[in-house]
Subunit: 201 residues, 2 copies
């Protein structure tokens, strides 16, 4: 168990010492040490020094530990589109949504990297992540429809936003860590604009 | 069995009467009538008037009947990027790839609709489709890297291409059928350019 304790200290210092945070830390540690499939809720609760009952007050199952953030992320991004003044163009509203995602996640690169390692190691989790992204894209398109944006522009702007976020996020979690997520998102937006504008109509 | 025979005649007339084509027809009919999960390879072979052995000469499993086209699609799209003259800009090379996909699929809207109905009815198949799209995006980005396109531009152009294809394909299979896939792809490309250009830098 010494390794586990060190893992906590070194890489998980950002997490809060509340019950939910302790459960997250314990789950991530076990998912990385033993694999996601091999870890039970009982083991997570034990390592966190809490009961299974407490676990289930915070998460519906062990997968939820990895994906509970996704619904909050979606809410923030959709709110950013809804809250943008009516004069803001669709692609700019999507840009605000992606920036909101960056603000929410960007402070915790080590946590994002650990989560990514858990997901990369398991095909079911990778599929789950793709589904969350597809759902998010649909929700963003819906928020643009509410602003009066038609098809196919709404879906394309939403998909472009997901592409910008995904590419920036990948570079952030897999890169050397010298560039912030915000900066990588800005680079992605600029790059996408430049690519589509260089092409003759 | 009368219904089954009628289904063949009316909607699947485009398929070839070879063994592979007959297996595809039989599989799709059963997936729609009984559900994908509830259908066995033995039943597919029986309805096609062929043996299970013949089925497995053409498909590795019953899911492969729905997804064997995806690898050919990926090959065509990657080839289109590779074959584009060096002077062609990244986004235009991706446009050629999406057009190649349109050429490959665009002639068989009824087949695409039936396949989509099977996939829409099953979460595992929806996940599989998302994974195929993610793999395709990675392959297109790789083909752009070979042309000397850097990150994040290569990944963003590839993701933009997938977005264009996905949005056009959705409108095609779910729409009234009065617009061709090629035309919907052109509309998607134009819409994406317009969206990203309207936004101030």
């Amino acid at each position: 168990m010494t390794l586990t304790v060190i893992t906590y200290d070194v890489v998980m210092g950002r997490w809060q010492p509340d019950a939910r945070g302790r459960l997250e830390k314990a789950a991530m540690t076990l998912y990385l040490e033993r694999g996601f499939e091999q870890t039970t809720v009982a083991e997570i609760a034990e390592l966190a020094g809490l009961t299974e009952r407490t676990f289930f007050r915070h998460f519906s199952d062990k997968r939820e530990v990895l994906f509970s953030g996704s619904s909050v992320l979606q809410e923030r991004m959709v709110d950013a589109v809804r809250d943008a003044p009516p004069s803001v163009a669709p692609f700019d509203a999507i840009g605000l949504a992606v920036a909101a995602a960056g603000d929410m996640i960007g402070g915790a690169v080590e946590r994002a990297r650990l989560r990514q390692r858990v997901i990369d190691a398991n095909d079911d989790l990778k599929e789950r992540e793709l589904i969350k992204m597809a759902t998010l894209s649909g929700a963003l398109a819906g928020a643009l429809h509410e602003r009066g944006v038609d098809e196919p522009s709404a879906s394309l702007a939403a998909e472009a936003g997901i592409a910008i976020f995904r590419v920036a996020f990948e570079r952030w979690v897999r890169g050397p860590g010298d560039v912030s997520l915000d900066e990588l998102i800005d680079q992605s937006i600029t790059a996408l604009k430049s690519i589509t504008q260089r092409a003759p109509s």
